[in-house]
């Protein structure tokens, strides 16, 4: 905060003092302050940004004060963007500029932050029909950055249209639209914040469009191309003056929430989107601990952690020719494109004969010793790609099958590969162990002997409890059918309690898997970043 401290002296000025703290008389409360040339008043809506965040946050200043140690703090009640609470929206499709006021009790309602993280004012109009809310005119609505008419209760995770009497201890009238002269004050301020907000908010609004990986859908439609180009432009035009109004997120909320997402595949495409990718690599949903808890599903972070590091590394590696093998393989790949096409028909022909007993093939291969398990592949590879990979690496024709990963979030892809002969299999394994086969995104392929579980009888499945059928004889047929078919459990049965216990266990296990994957990802990132540095030396 050092550099800000110096800037503070010139850019900062307190406004009216409101009073002193009740408990600690050395704490001074203020009504307003001027920071970086902008006047902020109590109950203004502001944009808030901490370095390392993906997006600005919107909040309302409800307390402004200075501590005895001369730290300037503000208490902010947050507005949620729809995307942050998308799990609780259900079928709701909020308007593109709608936000939700936080209410209730719990984390995420409000925070105390350093005043220096305020970056600008925000024009928010309340369109609620509540009688305590003065209605805004059409012109004001047009000028507004965001509107809100609903609140999100952070304690119950419910969206409500009714406003309680107080939110975070502040009377709710302060959250509604203010009197007319205060409204007019807000709009001119937007102009003065152009320069400040340019850099961050247009970057963040483009980010908004491209980055979010909705847990529900992962569609990569034609819009992807335009979004990627848009983000290219965004990163190139960092210093330019773009008018603030253009920068607002354009309606990307079409009916299916299909936001183009950065999947691993997009990372492999050589677009110059490094700038915000570096932001990406820092941002897992857990990177907001200071501000508010984003209620995000865990799975959305799975494919985003591959930052620019591997891609840059690989591009660098491409250009230099220190590793001849790389160049050769590159050329092979470009001619390999042609090879791929001709190989497919053969592969299909083969499948006609041997398609059915894949499991038997695996068993036989294991017995003969030609089964190899490849680990640390990209989980989005297809079986055919694995076959091609092995062909290029070892010049061997093999049969491969990707094992679909059941635990989402794992970024290790596994595949079973059946070689033609035991010798070939062993040679491949020893080569992979001795040297390193490096994939395009920095993965090193490992191999081990493939083992397949012997097909045995299904043992007892934990969680399937059976009681004697004797008693059921008395029950009517319908009841019997009802119990033995699939159903949603009702809360008045023992079964329900047990089911809840299972759900708790499921959530627990999800949590520990997630933690493990995160730790693993961090370790790999660490290692991979060293890869690049070594190369430069």
């Amino acid at each position: 905060m050092q550099h800000l401290a110096e800037a503070n002296v010139e850019n900062f000025k307190w406004g009216n003092k409101k009073g002193v703290g009740r408990i600690n008389k050395d704490v001074n409360f203020y009504d307003s302050f001027t920071y970086e040339g902008v006047d902020y008043f109590l109950y203004d809506c502001i944009y808030f940004y901490r370095t390392g965040d993906l997006e600005t946050s919107i909040g309302k200043l409800v307390k402004i004060y200075e501590t005895p140690t001369h730290e300037k703090k503000v208490k902010v009640v947050w507005f949620f963007r729809p995307i942050e609470i998308r799990n609780f929206l259900g079928d709701d499709k909020p308007q593109w500029n709608e936000v939700f006021l936080a209410s209730g009790q719990g984390t995420g309602l409000s925070n105390i932050n350093f005043l220096e993280d305020v970056i600008g004012k925000c024009n928010i109009i309340c369109t609620s029909m509540d009688k305590r809310n003065p209605q805004a005119s059409i012109a004001e609505l047009k000028k507004a950055d965001y509107i809100f008419y609903r609140t999100f209760d952070v304690g119950n995770f419910v969206i409500r249209e009714k406003f309680a009497d107080a939110i975070a201890g502040i009377k709710v009238e302060h959250f509604f639209n203010g009197k007319k002269d205060q409204e007019n004050n807000n709009s001119p301020c937007i102009g003065t914040n152009l320069k400040q907000l340019n850099e961050r908010s247009h970057l963040s609004s483009k980010l908004d469009k491209v980055v979010r990986n909705p847990a529900a859908d992962c569609k990569v439609d034609a819009g992807k191309e335009s979004a990627v180009k848009a983000s290219k432009r965004a990163t190139d035009m960092e210093g330019d003056k773009i008018s603030f109004l253009d920068v607002r997120p354009k309606p990307p909320f079409d009916s299916n929430w299909t936001k183009p997402c950065i999947s691993e595949n997009q990372v492999k495409e050589k677009t110059k989107v490094r700038c915000f990718e570096s932001v990406l690599s820092n941002s897992t949903p857990k990177s907001y601990p200071y501000k508010k808890r984003k209620i995000v599903e865990s799975k959305s972070s799975s494919s985003q952690s591959r930052g620019p590091i591997m891609k840059e590394y690989f591009e660098v590696k491409e250009r230099t020719t220190s590793d001849k093998a790389a160049v050769q393989l590159q050329e092979d790949k470009s001619t390999g494109q042609i090879l791929e096409v001709t190989r497919r028909p053969e592969a299909e022909r083969r499948n006609w004969f041997k398609n059915l007993p894949w499991e038997e093939r695996l068993q036989r291969a294991q017995e003969v010793g030609t089964l190899v398990l490849l680990n640390n592949l990209d989980p989005s590879y297809t079986s055919a790609e694995v076959e091609d990979l092995v062909w290029h690496a070892f010049n061997q024709k093999v049969e491969a099958k990707m094992i679909s990963s059941t635990f989402s979030g794992s970024h290790y892809g596994k595949a079973f590969v059946i070689f033609k002969s035991k010798v070939a299999a062993e040679f491949a394994m020893s080569e992979l162990n001795r040297r390193c086969l490096l994939l395009g995104d920095g993965r090193v392929v490992t191999a081990s002997k493939g083992t397949v579980r012997a097909p045995g009888n299904t043992g007892c499945f934990s969680g399937h409890l059976i009681i004697d059928k004797v008693v059921l004889q008395k029950q009517r047929d319908e009841m019997k059918n009802a119990v033995s078919t699939s159903h949603c459990s009702q809360p008045n049965t023992i079964e329900y309690e047990m089911a809840l216990q299972w759900q708790v266990l499921q959530h627990k296990s999800d949590a520990w898997w997630k933690a493990l994957y995160q730790k693993q990802r961090a370790e790999i990132q660490n290692c991979r970043s060293r890869l690049k540095k070594d190369y430069i030396i």
């Binding site: 934990s462 409890l465 033995s484 693993q520 790999i524």
Partner: protein, 199 residues
């Protein structure tokens, strides 16, 4: 490489969007069970079980179910999340989440994607790092296996606990039932001059 491939991929992704991934299914659940179960909510187009090659045989099964519309997918996922839904394997509820591309092992190649690889010689400066990466990979695999084992143990514990509870309840129930059945309750009631309702 060209538009047929892209179209393929686009239609595949559309299918993925319409598919729900079910987890924690009992090994006794078959395709017909799944179909009848989900027919209450939506029309099922396709059911595919994910074969289990490396896990021990007691593991829960997973399946990919293709439905006819996106909306139904969301509905089913909401329902499963909010109420415990059982499919033959009682009382362990199934879990549902939207399917992802990686879960399909027969998906078409994403058009425009290039895979490249290179061999690293021991003389290469990155070789050491690559070796380290390999070690890390191996370690991660064993860590994952360990957690998996731990998870199975926890599940077994819970299951044993619950079966004890169930047995206790069942014994009580049987006893009450038998008393009612063979008239003991009625005789006692007459003795104590209490009224017993006929059930």
């Amino acid at each position: 490489m060209g538009s047929p491939a892209e179209e393929d991929y686009a239609s595949f992704e559309e299918r993925v969007g319409r598919t729900v991934y079910f987890d924690n299914l009992s090994p006794q659940v078959t395709e017909s069970v799944l179909r009848t179960a989900l027919d209450q909510y939506a029309t099922v187009k396709n059911v595919k079980f994910i074969p289990n090659y490396t896990e021990p045989r007691n593991s829960p099964q997973c399946a990919l179910v293709e439905l006819d519309s996106l909306k139904k997918v969301k509905e089913i996922i909401l329902v499963t999340a909010q109420h415990p839904f059982m499919m033959t394997g009682m009382p362990r509820p199934v879990r549902a989440c939207p399917a992802e591309v990686e879960m399909f092992d027969d998906h078409p190649v994403k058009p425009g994607r290039k895979i490249s690889c290179c061999w690293l010689d021991p003389r290469d400066p990155d070789f050491q790092i690559a070796k380290e990466l390999k070690h890390i990979t191996r370690r991660h695999a064993s860590e994952a296996a360990f957690i998996h084992k731990h998870q199975m143990e926890e599940e077994k514990n819970l299951s044993d606990q619950q079966s004890l509870i169930l047995k206790g309840n069942y014994k009580k129930f049987k006893m009450i039932n038998s008393i009612m059945a063979d008239g003991t309750a009625r005789r006692l009631a007459r003795r104590y001059h209490l009224r017993v309702a006929d059930d």
